[in-house]
């Protein structure tokens, strides 16, 4: 029996945050082609195919993991990758799901600016990585920085670096090459505190879903457990509806529906 908890609705490789349930529906219009030759039985023929999905979840504020797209370095809205090449979902991550990205390095930096950091907060940037040679992880703000040169091994290992944020500017986290020509990176996290907390993934919040809907952004919807070798379904779509529900003294929830466009693919993860 499949545990529904494991099946996520992902948008462009990022999950939707705080999901409590997601649905996936594919349909085909059926045309009645019954004729006098049908011998009294109704006959029909499949015509136009379509698919859609929906997600329900809790409205989430700032989570423990402050980084956006913690499992998707290819998300250009959240990560600036420069001329580096990102191969998405190329390997299994630290938690058994195929979300680790392969970075083929140039001299450019991969960066993300992090909000929500206050003066005198300790900020810890962590990730899992493997490969050979060295790469650098760095966290910095206007006047201060902290970095670590990692010697990669063939085993996915967690590394972290901590900065005491002494000014009110946003913090930027960076990944860039040392001697390595490539590295596999997974489960990226930025948390407040002097040590790396247990990893929690980040995902699309209501605000970000709203932006996708409002901008009419064409997205890739994917239904997947992200387990290597399992089947997944994906296709393009648009966010059709978005609902924010706020009962008294109860957790705010959202409902999001996605209407598929063009074809749906079934692939092996």
């Amino acid at each position: 029996m499949t545990n529904g908890t494991d099946i996520l609705l992902l948008i462009d490789n990022d999950p939707i945050a705080a999901l409590t349930s997601n649905d996936f529906n594919c349909e085909v219009d059926v045309k009645d082609i019954t004729s006098k030759d049908s011998a009294g039985w109704r006959e029909c023929k499949p015509m136009k195919k379509s698919f859609n999905g929906s997600a329900n979840g809790f409205i989430k504020g700032v989570g423990i993991n402050l980084v956006r797209s913690s499992e998707n370095l290819a998300n250009a809205t959240n990560w600036s990758k420069g001329t580096n090449t990102i191969t998405s979902n190329s390997a299994v991550d630290a938690f058994g799901r195929k979300t680790a990205d392969l970075i083929t390095f140039t001299t450019a930096e991969i960066t993300q600016s992090i909000d929500y950091v206050q003066i005198d907060d300790y900020v810890t940037f962590s990730l899992y990585a493997k490969g050979s040679g060295t790469m650098v992880i760095r966290v910095e703000n206007l006047d201060y920085n902290s970095s670590q040169t990692i010697t990669l091994s063939g085993t996915l290992t967690r590394y972290s670096v901590t900065l005491l944020s002494n000014d009110s500017n946003d913090v930027t986290v960076k990944i860039y090459k040392g001697t390595a020509t490539s590295a596999t990176v997974a489960n990226i996290m930025v948390n407040i505190g002097q040590t790396a907390l247990p990893y929690t993934r980040s995902g699309y919040t209501f605000d970000e879903l709203y932006d996708l809907q409002n901008n009419g952004t064409k997205i890739t919807m994917r239904i997947s457990d992200q387990i290597d070798g399992n089947k997944q379904y994906s296709g393009f779509g648009y966010i059709k509806s978005l609902k924010h529900t706020d009962p008294v003294e109860d957790t705010s929830t959202f409902t999001c529906s996605i209407e598929g466009t063009a074809d749906l693919s079934k692939t092996t993860i």
Partner: protein
């Protein structure tokens, strides 16, 4: 019991409550049955907020508070003071517990015809706490 820590912290830091019960506020059972009034609190239930991201980040906890006294009028005043202290308490950290909200949910009276104690009056209040993990 996280909710109990928060309840204890709020009540023992509210002079309108401690002026009646001092620090005779305890979990599950009273420390001194002979001295009235006193307050006993207990966790009745805990409902985690489950999503696909991981462990519950918010627990909804029902706590029952029993206030006991041998004087009905004073008991009523203590109950009102406790309600004022807890109901819709500003979100924050109390006793090391991150409380999002406290809702006053129910209230009832009781009478214990205990010969040894010459009868005591009881006031029962239920609160629902939303606690961030």
């Amino acid at each position: 019991m996280k909710a109990g820590k928060a309840i204890y912290n709020i009540l023992t830091n509210t002079s309108a409550v401690t002026s009646y019960v001092s620090t005779r506020i305890s979990p599950l059972k009273a420390n001194n049955l002979a001295q009235f009034p006193y307050v006993v609190y207990e966790q009745v239930s805990l409902v985690p907020t489950i999503d696909k991201d991981g462990p519950s980040k918010l627990d909804v906890i029902r706590v029952q508070i029993n206030i006991l006294h041998n004087n009905y009028d004073t008991l009523s005043n203590v109950a009102d003071a406790i309600r004022t202290a807890l109901e819709r308490k500003t979100s924050g950290t109390y006793g090391g517990v991150n409380v999002q909200s406290i809702v006053f949910d129910n209230e009832g009276e009781m009478y214990n015809d205990n010969v040894d104690l010459d009868g005591i009056y009881g006031w029962q209040q239920d609160y629902i706490l939303r606690i961030k993990n």
